[in-house]
């Protein structure tokens, strides 16, 4: 077992984790933060994307022990005081989800994109989502949602 101290969504956690526990397993199975999804477990689909020290990463491809001392944000940390994050709102407004399985990862990725590039072109948005798979929407409304969020 490995002892780690981390911050998740501005709350401090001190946890004992297995040497081989994946970060996404810690979040979902131990801490009950089930907003982060596992679509593939092979680093392909992006459903598990969260932020570690401000960068979007695939939490199925990180060991929990690796994030000792780091700041994490999951999709649960986006809304504040009962208000959805602007990107969550614009996903809702633009019907950018159907089953919603891929959505938490895409939303986390989109938040990271707009933090690094406040006015991405359509091509830049599409390139940024290279590591995500959505089986329902056909992506069009996802792109629209990000574009709408830019203007807000």
């Amino acid at each position: 077992m490995v002892k780690i101290n981390i911050n998740i969504n501005n709350k401090a956690y001190s946890e004992e984790v297995g040497d081989n526990t994946l970060l996404v397993e810690l979040l979902r199975d131990k801490l009950g933060l089930t907003g982060t999804h596992v679509g593939c477990d092979t680093s392909q689909c992006g459903a598990c994307v969260i932020h570690v020290d401000g960068d979007s990463v695939k939490s199925c491809t990180v060991l929990a022990a690796q994030v000792h001392g780091k700041d994490l944000t999951t999709v649960e940390g986006l809304a504040s005081e009962g208000q959805l994050h602007p990107i969550q709102k614009s996903f809702q407004n633009n019907h950018a989800l159907q089953c919603g399985f891929c959505t938490p990862g895409l939303v986390m990725s989109a938040v990271d994109l707009l933090k690094k590039n406040s006015s991405p072109s359509e091509d830049e948005i599409r390139e940024w989502f290279e590591g995500h798979i959505c089986r329902c929407t056909g992506y069009k409304n996802i792109i629209k949602a990000v574009q709408e969020a830019i203007t807000q």
Partner: protein, 264 residues
């Protein structure tokens, strides 16, 4: 996932002694190759030595016509580095074409070079930029480093500390991505120096290699015309579900032409 012992090393010295004390250790950097292979049990080490918090391996330094990139610099650090963009544009472009943004936030140049995947991008750049791989034990010339598929001249207890690259006058990376995996079906890195040209190819065969014949032709005449006389030998090219050896040969020729046109 099956079990192993996890250790975090804060210094190169600690990493070395942890490696020495373990039965079958494996270094963990970005984990974006190692963790997937652990999940599939393609690799079953007894101990994982996490070097990712060794800050001295995260530096990019410039001097004497060379850039030295710390082994733990991520693909995203490299593609966004003003020093790399200014001095080796081809390398910044290469790093930006690896995987996806989340992979680039974690994956490191040291991990990619150590892994020597035949379809990885960096090996082409390291060869064409007259690279040297510096480790906890010695320096390896890139030309002797990439031995075969997933095989390098590293000893099992050696830690890559940095990659030293000679700054070219101009450079470019042309990649034909596998549409599913994003890895290079074929990738060509071309670098121009005073009276010199260096070209290396990845993805086409079991290991990245230099194209000395084309380099020679271009040295005397840096022009697309020379391609009319280039015969690509595809005997040892990869021939798999992604592309036949012959197709890879055709792609290589097109990429070479594009690179020449860009650097002309």
């Amino acid at each position: 996932m099956y079990n192993f012992r996890y250790h975090k090393a804060e210094t190169i010295e600690t990493a070395r002694s942890l490696i020495a004390q373990s039965d079958d250790p494996k270094i963990l950097a970005g984990g974006h190759t190692l963790i997937p292979t652990l999940k599939q049990r393609l690799s079953q080490p007894s101990d994982i030595i996490d070097i990712s918090s060794i800050d001295e391996l995260k530096m990019i330094t410039l001097g004497d016509g060379f850039v030295t990139i710390g082994a733990l610099c991520t693909h995203s650090d490299i593609s966004n580095s003003p020093d790399i963009k200014k001095n080796i544009k081809g390398l910044a472009d290469l790093a930006k074409q690896i995987g996806d943004p989340q992979v680039r936030h974690k994956g490191t140049i040291g991990g990619s070079v150590a892994n020597a995947d035949p379809a990885a991008d960096y090996p082409a750049a390291v060869l064409a930029l007259d690279g040297e791989i510096t480790t906890s034990a010695e320096n390896h010339k890139a030309t002797n480093f990439f031995v075969d598929m997933f095989e390098t001249s590293l000893d099992s207890d050696e830690i890559i500390t940095g990659i030293r690259l000679k700054i070219p006058n101009s450079s470019t990376y042309k990649k034909f991505r596998n549409p599913a995996s994003g890895y290079a079906m074929v990738g060509v890195f071309m670098a121009r120096y005073d009276n010199d040209v260096k070209i290396a190819v990845t993805g086409a065969s079991s290991s990245a290699y230099r194209m000395l014949d084309v380099e020679d032709s271009l040295k005397s005449n840096f022009n697309n015309d020379i391609m009319a006389d280039v015969d690509i030998d595809t005997t040892n090219f990869n021939d798999d579900i992604h592309a036949s050896a012959k197709y890879r040969g055709v792609i290589l020729k097109v990429l070479l032409e594009e690179a020449i046109l860009e650097l002309k």
